[in-house]
Amino acid sequence: MKRVAFSPVRVALIAGNTFREAVRQRLLVVLIMVAATMVGGALFFRDFHFGSSELKFLEDVGFGAVTFFGAILAIVAPAQLFCGDIERRTVLTVLAKPVWRAEFIIGKLGGVLLLLLVFCTAMTALLAGLIAWRETGLMAAHPDAFEAGRKAAYAALALCGLAQWLKLGVLAALTLFVASYARSSLFAMMAGFFALVACQLQYLARDFYGVVESGWARGGVWLLGLVLPDFQLFNVAEKVAAGENLSVGVIGGLASYALAYMTVFSGLAVYCFRHRKL
């Protein structure tokens, strides 16, 4: 009998199928629409900003919407798409074919990453369009303030979108890892949201490490800080909104960090899924 090797083609097929399924799910489509509305809605908040300039405020609120709704998408999509297959038992028909469980997990993650890439690209493009439109209006109204040309850094905006995608990818991989042993999609989603908050606050563990005196507590806090990735690292939108440029080194470092964690979480998902009773 012919040996069946790990196949990127099958991974791509599963990823494509997962993506197609995701874009047809009403909940996910509604989520994307709400996020787009929120990015567009940043315009209505522009009179509400106190300290920052209008364009920076738009950038901030727009990327806030991408982060917030992207995080929901990165948690809900893998939980529903993976656990849905388990709950509906359709995973049995896939794995009854010459398909490795690792191919299934990586394919699922690939589909979700593709969904998140489309989401981040579309939202960043929408935000960039919005900022460009407002900037054109402001340039006409206050030409003296724009003597040196446009102020918004569109290339940095694109890098922000990339950083958001990397962060959401790590979150999706983490949720998929939970889903690989979770009994229900609800549990996977709850755990995903908990992990999101924990990863956002990972740096607090470092704070406490510096403060806590007890040896055991210090050890515990040190371990906690070690187990989770630090999502604060990906908040580059703030730097860009503040007018700072991002170096290629920073983006490269972030990409390596994100890819390493995606690999770790998907590896753990494969490990758990291989031992799971179906």
Partner: protein, 287 residues
């Protein structure tokens, strides 16, 4: 050659973190030959689904061995040439039937160029030609079962494993599926059919395997198992009045024991099929 070889298969489950082990399969040994249609019978909890999952490599045995076409079932290679229809499949409602079967065909290694024609052919054969471009979410339970069968058959597998294939399907749909199983058998395919319906198994299978509480308690050909030893039955036209006594006297005179008279019955699903049937089941006799 054996399609499936099972030796001393045992599988234990721990129901919860402190519970005692539950033995789902207990030393099952079984051989299924290529080209055979085998019915797997047994009450709920008898171990049928566990046995099927081990054959498909979805579950590892606690002890014993299972080989599919000579390859240990836990290896991915063992699943080449295997088609599987799970019980009451509930495929993604967002894909069309065509997309679903295409996905499974490509996943099984079918060349892209051949997929469209083959998928359309197999979907038409299960009677969903008209509905193949509709989303699975709009399908009835019976249609979902049929599209499940299409995905199981699309790669033209040597071994087909069907778990309760007619569960929840109307008699005409059940008859169509039965026809498809017969066609598979005629083409030399091996079929393992898990069912609650003894009548269906009797109708379709060469051999029956009965499981109870994880043990294989009975196996043999349908003819062997259903034959009443030392008895014979005659089917005759309705007897005119008074002839029954004469017949009984004659039989006794020739030393043949007489046990009674029964009116032959037709299976109810056959009656329903004759009433509501739309001619021959779709695709019958076209294999």
């Amino acid at each position: 050659m054996h399609a499936i070889e099972i030796d001393g298969l045992t599988r234990d489950f721990a129901p919860d973190w402190r519970g005692a082990k539950v033995r789902a399969l207990d030393g099952v040994t079984l051989r299924i030959h290529e080209g055979e249609v085998v019915g797997l019978l047994g009450p709920n909890g008898s171990g049928k689904s566990t046995l099927l999952k081990i054959i498909l490599g979805l579950l590892a045995p606690t002890a014993g061995q299972c080989r599919v076409f000579g390859v240990p079932s836990d290896r991915v290679e063992a699943r080449q040439g295997v088609g599987f229809l799970p019980e009451a499949p509930d495929f993604s409602p967002h894909l069309t039937g065509f997309e679903l079967v295409c996905f499974h065909a490509r996943l099984g290694g079918m060349a892209r160029a051949a997929v469209k024609e083959r998928v359309e052919e197999v979907i038409a054969r299960v009677g969903l030609g008209e509905a193949m471009h509709r989303r699975v979410g709009t399908y009835s339970k019976g249609m979902r079962q049929r599209i499940g069968l299409a995905q199981a058959l699309v790669l033209d597998p040597r071994l087909v494993i069907l778990d309760e294939p007619t569960c929840g399907i109307d008699p005409s749909g059940a008859a169509e599926i039965s026809t498809m199983i017969r066609r598979l058998k005629m083409r030399g395919g091996t079929v393992v059919l898990s069912s609650h319906l003894a009548g269906q198994v009797e109708d379709l299978c060469d051999r029956v395997v009965l499981l109870d509480r994880g043990r294989l308690v009975l196996q043999g050909s349908v003819a062997e198992l259903t034959r009443r030893r030392g008895q014979a039955a005659l089917l005759v036209d309705p007897l005119p009045d008074g002839t029954l006594g004469e017949l009984r006297d004659w039989l006794q005179a020739h030393g043949v024991g007489f046990h009674g008279v029964e009116t032959p019955r037709t299976a109810l699903d056959r009656v329903i099929w004759d009433k509501v049937g739309r001619g021959e089941p779709a695709g019958a006799g076209k294999s």
